[in-house]
């Protein structure tokens, strides 16, 4: 059985939230990222406790949007976070 991934944001990132959006500074790489409102909520929810589907459900509730549409956006967000190294590589990403 495959265990669903539970994305977790690295806790060594510097995040400044302003008016619902965020600026993320990754000291390890020197990279800066600007997150819009939806991406900021997704980032906040990626704490290792929820699957991408569960995160999408929470985001849908927060923005009063239809869950299937949101899930696509949330998964894309999470893929983007992963590609730029904002998520931890271990822990929430185990498959069984």
């Amino acid at each position: 059985m495959t265990r669903a991934q539970r994305p977790r944001v690295r806790d060594d990132l510097h995040v400044v939230e302003l008016d619902g959006e965020a600026v993320v500074y990754d000291e390890a790489t020197g990279d800066l990222h600007h997150l819009n409102a939806v991406a900021t909520v997704v980032l906040d929810l990626c704490d290792g406790s929820a699957t991408a589907r569960e995160v999408a459900q929470d985001v849908a509730a927060a923005f009063d949007e239809a869950p299937p549409d949101v899930e696509r956006h949330v998964r894309r967000c999470i893929r983007e976070f992963r590609s730029v190294g904002l998520l931890e590589r271990s822990g929430g990403d185990r498959r069984g």
Binding site: V16, L18, E21, V23, Y25, H34
Partner: protein, 263 residues
């Protein structure tokens, strides 16, 4: 400076002699292509012309007073040493002023607006000599840049042909000032409008010389600055349009201050 050799050239023998006095501690026999060029108006033609500091082919500073250009050059050289400092946050922006109101503007805009000449003065706007701003890590207010280069104490007052009463709309920050507005450039915008604080913080962070040195503490300072300031975005093109946009920013700030005062 350090392990870097910087070539500087000028059209004026007198200014060249001043450079030798000012930067004598850094002179080297190692040759380098000129990175900075200073064109000095020595009065050969009719009327007054601007003195200009170039970095490569880009204008850094343009003023009737060669003293402004000299101070600008020293600041540009000192900026190369800012990335290692941890006493404040140093950003590659300029602090424009109109009376007591301040606005952070992109560094390139300082040189860009210098070409508007007397329109600046008529608009009541003062441009900074320095294209760098020092933000106090505790309060986030803008404070005067420290003198980092080893130059003879009074050399800045010995620039040949210096004319502080020439009418240039430049000034150095002489005391701590809070940042009232942050202006960032967004390509393609055809107006000026209130902008996102987070995008403003992102742009400031991108231009922070010592971000790697300070890390998260710099981010906290920048977050505080944009939280307290009004943030604007503009993408207008010609210098006169950019000046009009900056005038609108200062007018907004002054009106806002008046409203708060009377509330």
């Amino acid at each position: 400076m350090g392990e870097t050799t910087i070539g500087i050239r000028t059209t004026s023998p007198a200014f060249g002699a001043w450079l030798d006095r000012a930067l004598g501690a850094y002179r080297t026999e190692t040759a380098a292509d000129p990175e900075y060029s200073i064109v000095i108006d020595e009065g050969a033609g009719r009327g007054r012309r601007f003195n200009v500091l170039y970095q490569g082919v880009g204008v850094v500073s343009r003023a009737l007073d060669p003293g402004v250009v000299a101070r600008s050059l020293l600041t540009e050289l000192e900026a190369r040493l800012l990335h290692e400092r941890d006493d404040a946050v140093y950003i590659h922006y300029g602090l424009a002023m109109s009376g007591a109101t301040t606005a952070l503007i992109p560094a390139w805009l300082v040189s860009y607006l210098a070409g508007t000449g007397r329109r600046l003065s008529r608009a009541g706007i003062t441009l900074p000599v320095a294209r760098w701003v020092r933000l106090d890590t505790g309060s986030g207010v803008a404070t005067p840049l420290p003198r980092v280069l080893e130059v003879p104490g009074d050399v800045i007052h010995q620039v040949p042909g210096a004319a502080p009463d020439s009418g240039d709309a430049y000034d150095d920050l002489s005391e701590a000032r809070p940042v009232d507005a942050v202006v960032t450039y967004v390509e393609g915008m055809d107006t000026i409008a209130g902008g996102s604080r987070s995008r403003a913080a992102y742009h400031l962070a991108e231009r922070t010389a010592n971000l790697r040195t300070l890390g998260g503490s710099a981010m906290a300072v920048l977050g505080g600055v944009v939280e307290r300031a009004h943030c604007f975005e503009t993408g207008l093109g010609r210098p006169q349009q950019m000046l009009a946009a900056l005038e609108a920013v200062f007018q907004h700030e002054k009106t806002h201050a008046l409203v708060e005062e009377n509330a």
